[in-house]
Symmetry: C2
Subunit: 153 residues, 2 copies
C-alpha cells in the first residue's frame, strides 16, 4: 500500500492491520488478506459505497476477489463493529466505516449521503417493554444544496 493516493503511511497501515486482526479475532473471525483489502477500500473513500462499489475497488488491488467474498467480508466487518451498514433508500445496502456518533443526511435526488456528527444528547425515548437497544440510526431525507438549486429552475 505505498501506491499513489493512499492516505496512510506504512506505519499507520501496519497498525491498522494489527487492530483489524485483533477485532476480527475477538469476534471469532480469521484475518485474511481479502478482509484487509475490503476494509482498506472502505477507508480510502468515505462515500458510503454499495457492496458492488467495494467489489470493484477491491478488485483493483486484488483482481481475483469474488463478489461472494466481498459480501462475506463486509458482513464480518459489520459483525465485529468496524463498519456500519446503512439502508437509506430502496436498493443496495451501503457501508460506512465511520463509527463515530453521527447521522446521515441523504439527498433523495442524487443519492449522496453526508455524515453529520451528532451532539452526544441522550434522547430518552420510551422503548417497547423489554426491548434491548443495540444502536440508533438517524437519517434525514431531503435535497442537497446542488439538487435543491437545480429543481428551482
Amino acid at each position: 500500500m505505498t501506491k499513489l493516493g493512499c492516505p496512510m503511511n506504512l506505519a499507520e497501515h501496519t497498525e491498522l492491520e494489527r487492530a483489524l486482526g485483533e477485532r476480527l479475532a475477538t469476534s471469532g473471525f480469521r484475518f485474511t488478506s481479502q478482509r484487509r483489502h475490503v476494509y482498506d477500500a472502505l477507508l480510502q473513500t468515505l462515500d458510503h459505497p454499495t457492496a458492488d462499489d467495494v467489489f470493484m475497488r477491491t478488485k483493483r488491488q486484488m483482481p481475483d476477489i469474488s463478489h461472494a467474498t466481498v459480501y462475506n467480508c463486509l458482513a464480518a466487518l459489520v459483525h465485529c463493529g468496524l463498519v456500519r451498514q446503512v439502508q437509506l433508500q430502496r436498493g443496495a445496502t451501503r457501508y460506512c466505516p465511520n463509527m463515530e456518533r453521527h447521522c446521515h443526511y441523504c439527498c433523495d435526488e442524487c443519492g449522496t449521503i453526508f455524515d453529520v456528527t451528532m451532539p452526544a444528547e441522550t434522547p430518552t425515548m420510551p422503548s417497547p417493554k423489554g426491548f434491548q437497544v443495540d444502536h440508533y440510526e438517524i437519517a434525514v431525507h431531503g435535497l442537497c444544496a446542488n439538487c435543491a438549486g437545480l429543481r428551482k429552475k
Copy 2:
C-alpha cells in the same frame, strides 16, 4: 367491504375513500379501485408489510391485481403523503400508513417493527450547507423482549 373482520363501518369507509380520492387528486393521481384496496390492506394490519405482503393481502379482495400495480399504488400513496416507506434492514422495503410523528424499534432477530410515538422535540442538528430537509427517519435497532429472552438461554 362489509366482510367479517373489517374494522370499519360503512360510513367511516366512505369517508376514508373520499379523503383518499382527494389526496390522490391533489398530487395529480387518479382514484382507482386498486389504490383503494391497497390502501385498505395497509390500514387493516399495521404491521409494516412488504410490497409482497400487501400484494397477497390485496389479492384476497381483488384476485386479479398484479404485482406491478401494487408497486405503482404504493408509490402513489407514498408520493401523496399517506404512507411512509421504511427501509430498516437489507431486503424488501416496508410500508407504514401511520403518518404520526414516530420512530421505529426494529428487532434485528425476528424483524418485528414497533412504532413508538415521539415527543415533539426539535433536535437542532447542523445540516450540511444548503440541505433542504424533507423528513426524518429514526430507527432503533436491537432485540425485542421475546428474542432477547430466547437468546439468554
